[in-house]
């Protein structure tokens, strides 16, 4: 069964690579159409250039995940993951409303099964229920948006919808964009609809988390990009600005919560919220630039958004797989219990370091290239005439800079606390040295890709620029400095690192105990992850609303306790709002139960009333 799952995942990877490559080379690949008896349910398949980018990302992710599944995770996981990948590929190949909606729902349901893997835990069951709730509500919004478009165009085929997009009435266009933003945005983890994501993504098995954050999030962004850039194009300026604002809020809030979290996997999920926000900034900037008639800026921003989506898929999958390796080796992903993993996790540690540097946007890794490009396109858009657009772009630049600085802090914390230093727990026997082999190959593959696209962003920029040009019907953007920038920046630091290592080898470095003012060196002296985040937790208390409790135990006097327990927790503002909303909904639903008396005659009366109303409305 495991072999079947792995083979199927690899097959999906191969198919995605072929389809993506074909579509990229020929500017789209139509795969066929089936006209059934009901025209509205026509089945049209094909890959657009936009979809091709995501197909290629899916191919790379599936290749890594297939390698991982060879030895790790259960056999059932491997099969579910193959089905999940196939559903995502189907979404990317859908070119009519019926296919898209079917694939979207299949993706949502299979992913719910994956999230519920450890259903013996109550928190997992709750997370699954929450995920299903948000996912189905979102799917309904997606269906409404697509149905409105199909109704206006008189055809369910995306090609025909896109052709008649220009003649959409303003009201319908706004409604479509609003529903699309709700539907796709909730799946992509846009603030404030992200609250399910940090609960649902981390509880899945690690390779499934990698696909959820690296893949499904991107599929949702693909959906939003398809609707806003082709099916309902051109979007009014206000929508571009709104998406930039939502993205900025998500980028800052996501990384703030990641910064204070101590659960490695949940932290990574919050960081996905951040990166979805960054992609949203790029997408919003594209729409705003299109509305402001700045075609070259729009192409630049779309290239940046696509590149960042692609890069985030790679490094987030790497980090989730790395967290999986940590969980397998240590039995926990609690940062307070991890330490010194570098000593025995000889494969995971270097790969994870590359992932951390890439996600923090540091040169010369791929996160740097795409974040630089997003900054560049936002700066280019400051020449927009509309003052609101200028303010939005400035706000996004500031938010992105803050998020970038926080991401450096956040991932220095993760790597420094978990992988460097010494183990925090007493170990009875020395930990086993990590074996290489197939799962390690998955990490090495993803780390190599992060480095490759970091050093040579030109490899991706050419094709992505052409995709952006095709989607927006503008000439391809030019990238004057970026292809050489990472190498120029990283040359001296790299040379310095090698020189410092060589010098240390030649001159020798003497080992001494750590300086602790003369007291014994114990793991308890090491700084904790919670303590590391304390200054930022306090400074951003207006967002994080931290709660801390200190309890003194034992001892005769309160000045000489035997134990001090310090606990801190962040309340999530959005959660509080969501809880209130849920309580309100529940109350309303309970009230409305009055009309459900159980009497058959009353229900018949309802049916008749509905029929009369329909007839009256239809006249």
């Amino acid at each position: 069964m495991r072999a079947l799952g792995v083979a199927a995942t690899a097959a999906v990877a191969l198919a995605a690579a072929l389809l993506g490559g074909l579509a990229l080379a020929h500017g789209g690949a139509p795969l066929g159409a089936f006209q059934g008896p009901i025209p509205a349910l026509a089945l049209v398949f094909g890959v657009t250039p936009l979809g091709a980018v995501f197909c290629l990302l899916l191919a790379l992710l599936d290749a890594a995940v297939a390698l991982w599944s060879v030895e790790r995770g259960s056999a059932l996981d491997a099969v579910l993951i193959a089905a999940f990948s196939a559903a995502m590929l189907l979404v990317l190949c859908a070119q009519s409303v019926a296919v898209f909606f079917f694939a979207w729902e299949a993706m949502a349901l299979v992913s719910a099964f994956i999230i519920a893997t450890h259903h013996e835990r109550r928190s997992v069951r709750r997370a699954t229920a929450l995920y299903l709730l948000v996912s189905q509500t979102g799917a309904a919004c997606v269906l409404v948006a697509l149905a409105l478009l199909a109704y206006q165009a008189g055809s369910p085929s995306f090609g025909l919808i896109a052709r008649s997009a220009g003649s959409l009435p303003a009201g319908t266009r706004n409604a479509v964009l609003a529903f699309a933003l709700l539907g796709f945005g909730s799946k992509a983890g846009f603030v404030p609809l992200h609250f399910w994501l940090p609960r649902a993504h981390p509880v899945a098995p690690p390779h499934a988390s990698a696909l959820l954050s690296g893949g499904m999030l991107k599929v949702a962004l693909y959906g939003l990009a398809t609707v806003t850039l082709t099916l309902a194009a051109p979007a009014p300026l206000a929508w571009g600005i709104a998406i930039v604002a939502i993205g900025t809020a998500g980028a800052v809030a996501g990384v703030l919560y990641a910064m204070v979290d101590r659960d490695l996997k949940r932290l990574l999920a919050y960081s996905s919220v951040e990166n979805a926000g960054i992609v949203a900034i790029g997408l919003g900037a594209t729409l705003a630039a299109g509305a402001e008639r700045l075609p070259d800026v729009a192409a630049l921003a779309l290239t940046a958004a696509l590149f960042h989506a692609f890069n985030h898929g790679l490094f987030k999958a790497l980090l989730f797989l790395g967290a999986g390796a940590v969980a397998d080796s240590e039995g926990t992903v609690d940062l307070e219990k991890l330490g010194g993993l570098r000593g025995h996790m000889v494969w995971t540690a270097p790969a994870f370091l590359i992932g951390c540097a890439a996600i923090a946007g540091l040169p010369p890794f791929n996160g740097f290239a795409s974040e630089w490009l997003i900054f560049r396109s936002l700066a280019a858009e400051l020449v927009a005439r509309d003052p609101a657009a200028k303010v939005a772009m400035l706000g996004a630049i500031a938010g992105l800079a803050l998020a970038g600085g926080l991401a450096v802090a956040c991932f220095a914390r993760v790597y420094g606390i978990a992988f460097l230093g010494k183990p925090r727990r007493k170990q009875t026997k020395p930990p086993e040295r990590e074996r290489g082999g197939v799962p390690a190959a998955a990490l090495v593959l993803l780390a190599a890709l992060c480095t490759l696209f970091g050093f040579l962003p030109g490899l991706a920029l050419g094709p992505l620029g052409r995709v952006a040009a095709t989607v927006l019907h503008v000439p391809p953007p030019a990238f004057p400095t970026l292809p050489v920038l990472p190498v120029t920046l990283a040359l001296l630091p790299l040379a310095g690192a090698l020189a410092a290592l060589a010098l240390a080898r030649r001159r020798g470095v003497r080992s001494v105990p750590t300086w602790t003012c003369g007291s014994p060196v114990t793991p308890a002296a090491a700084y904790t992850a919670t303590a590391f985040a304390k200054p930022l937790r306090r400074i951003f208390a207006f967002v994080l609303a931290p709660e801390s409790r200190r309890t003194l135990e034992g001892g005769d006097s309160r000045w000489f306790p035997q134990r001090i327990v310090y606990q801190t927790d962040s309340r999530y503002l959005v959660d509080e709002t969501a809880r209130r909303f849920a309580a309100l909904t529940l109350r309303v639903v309970r009230r409305s139960r009055l009309v459900q008396s159980g009497s058959l005659r009353l229900y018949l009366a309802y049916a008749v009333a509905a029929l009369i109303l329909t007839v009256v409305a239809a006249r």
Partner: protein, 296 residues
């Protein structure tokens, strides 16, 4: 690309690196005079570097390769930073003269130091890393905004455009914002204190606490180069026709920092965000003026 365009950045880096310890010594000497002390000679940092370079390095048991490589990474980062400053005619490293690239490059150096400090597993390293990470996150928006003022008008992120700007209130605001950022980035009172010998108050020094000998020499040298290059970058924000005008503004900023260090005491950790927030607002106002005015 001819020989000259390659020689310019090399000469620029060599000059900045050679004079950086002198600037540090001069600032220390001036500060001592202002406080009524004779103070050390301005060339003392050279002597310190030579002495440290000759000594063996000690590191905590089981130090990781990251810790061993970090001094080299940090020095490489600041040298690349110095090479990227658009002081002279266009040079071969022109792509480096980019606001975003320089800010993210500094972040790479900070990342390496944070990891090295956390690797020591001492509370001092962790505490300093936590503070440095906090300041770093808050510095980035303010720094980027003060550099963006000029670039924003042309719709780019290049800082070579800074050279051609006429004098305006906006550039003064950007310079003022940069000054506040420079206090944090060069580890000065009221944000940090270079003279402290008390581990609990150290920020930048705390990151280096476990380093010694030639590794410490590399890190001190890197800090001096960063200080000089950073002040030169600030000097670019005010108008000038040639590199010496920008150098003049940089030296004026160095004097200003020394005065601030004499006049003020170190701030509480949780008041530093207000300083950096002020810097951000000043820089944002500067950009606002430029965007409203439409002229540089």
């Amino acid at each position: 690309m001819n020989a000259l365009s390659l020689a310019i950045p090399v000469l620029q880096v060599a000059a900045i690196a050679a004079l950086a310890p002198l600037l540090q010594g001069a600032m220390k000497s001036l500060r001592a005079r202002l406080q009524g002390r004779p103070g050390p000679s301005p060339v003392q940092p050279y002597r310190d570097l030579v002495k440290l370079w000759g000594k063996e390095a000690l590191l905590p048991e089981g130090a990781s390769p990251v810790t061993i490589a970090a001094p080299g990474v940090v020095l490489g980062v600041v040298l690349a930073f110095a090479a990227g400053l658009p002081l002279g005619p266009r040079n071969a490293l022109d792509p480096l003269a980019d606001a975003v690239a320089l800010v993210l490059l500094l972040a790479l150096g900070r990342f390496a130091l944070l990891l090295a400090a956390l690797d020591t597993r001492s509370s001092f390293g962790g505490m300093a890393a936590s503070r440095e990470a906090t300041f770093g996150a808050l510095v980035e928006p303010a720094l980027l905004f003060s550099l963006f003022g000029a670039a924003a008008l042309s719709g780019g992120t290049k800082i070579s455009a800074l050279n051609a700007l006429p004098f305006s209130p906006a550039s003064v605001l950007a310079f003022a914002a940069f000054f506040l950022v420079a206090l944090a980035e060069t580890a000065r009172v009221p944000v940090d204190n270079q003279e402290t010998h008390y581990e609990l108050t150290m920020v930048h020094e705390g990151l280096l606490l476990e380093y010694s000998g030639w590794q410490l020499a590399l890190l001190h040298g890197a800090a001096y180069v960063k200080q000089f290059a950073f002040l030169l970058l600030g000097g670019l924000l005010l108008p000038g026709q040639a590199w010496w005008a920008h150098l003049g503004w940089a030296l004026a900023m160095a004097c200003g920092i020394t005065f601030v260090e004499t006049a003020l005491a170190k701030l509480r950790l949780f008041e530093v965000p207000q300083v950096l927030g002020t810097a951000f607002i000043l820089a944002a106002t500067g950009i606002g003026l430029r965007l409203i005015g439409g002229t540089p």
